[in-house]
Symmetry: D2
Subunit: 143 residues, 4 copies
């Protein structure tokens, strides 16, 4: 399966990414760029986008990037630094880059930016790589 | 305004916390406990809850806890460690504890657990405390 | 080997913990408390303890705690929030608590405090648990 | 004062960076690259460099970068992902990049690499920017 095949299989089941309105810009080995637009139901008590929205967009880009090599990979650790408020109607892009691919653990930087390049959030994700492969069936393992 | 008044004012506008189905268990100075139930539209490509769901629940508890003292407070940094898969129909609790209240910065630990106490995620939040107060109007500041 | 035996074997080789002047207060399954005193050569450009000092103390407590179960464990991810300045001559305590012990990954909270309980730093550590055991010899694995 | 002047004033007092054997490669507005060599007294219980060593090197690069604009800046939050073991005699480089400069908060990525570019650790630092300026005297503020 190619990174694009794996993305399609994951995205078809990924109800929350669908709810977010996530669109694929590009996906490849260890990389993924996604886009979405902030809607009314994504706002928080300050009337700006809830912190969980930019996190979730980045987390989806991270998931597609770390699963792109063919083995199931799950999140161990994520960090996010919020650096700008996001408003209703804003378009957000999340760009995931793989910084290291280990045998059991891999490391990603994801930048969330507006279309003009203004940074919104800096996200990092560390993934645990299981032995189970996409397109095969097997017994689930625990991390 | 009491912590409960501030929670009510924030929650009334917080569309995303409403979408998550968040219910208040308790709120006080520097603390907040919330509850929600995982729905179909919250699942990811593995058929379990998207990492953004437990993050968002914890982030809301963090927001209500760090705003409870009366000054506007916004997130600078969050980390989350996912330690257990969350399934459709699972009830999640997020318990926010204030570990330090500084003049400009405050620090919180939020545990996301199932009702039997099984940990799902460990979240930490660092907030920047603005000068603007809840119940007053003023000019927005930048962090 | 008991947690105390493993601590002794690790500490005997741990040149940097020795340089820090680390003393053991207690060690058990998944827990460890250490103490040290800030010396002149640990100060930074502001004349207070370098951020790497409280980090290193906490990191040692994390290492002893996550190796205490008998399997080699190495750090995947650490976070530290600095909340108070540390001065020459200050005594620091680091208290490591295990929050989850998984098969491959385990999670720890470490608080660095002064003897009166004032918090200095909040540290979290995520460890990868190798198959190799203390007291046995074997082939090194990669994480 | 230029970034280089501020570096010199900080480094002259920074006993721990001196103990680490840190050498300046370059410093500019928001950036800093440092180098050091791992010595025997920096090893841990596994006989490799203690996690606090690469952290401290990165933390010094972060400190010089975030203070380079002329205002005193202190660490609020740091994260580090260790991705490769570091051995006795290894040369380490830490390269700090400023990703955002806010009025009160600024954000940095620091990569620790070996001279051939192999990544050793990914560090992120968030700084709180005080009003006090380098080269002036004033009353200390609290974050």
């Amino acid at each position: 399966m190619t990174p694009h095949d794996i993305f399609n299989e994951m995205m078809a089941k990924d109800q929350f990414s669908q709810w977010l309105g996530i669109e694929l810009i590009s996906v490849g080995p260890g990389t993924c760029t996604l886009q979405m637009t902030v809607r009314h139901e994504m706002l928080n008590g300050f009337g700006i986008a809830h912190g969980g929205i930019s996190f979730s967009l980045a987390d989806s880009a991270f998931a597609f990037a770390c699963n792109s090599h063919g083995r199931h990979a799950v999140s161990i650790h994520c960090t996010i630094e919020h650096v700008a408020a996001v408003k209703l109607g804003d378009v957000l892009l999340a760009e995931a880059t793989e910084e290291r691919l280990g045998n059991s653990v891999s490391n990603y930087a994801i930048k969330v930016v507006k279309p003009d390049g203004e940074p919104v959030a800096f996200f990092r994700g560390v993934a645990y790589r299981k032995k189970m492969e996409w397109g095969k069936t097997g017994v689930a393992e625990q991390k």
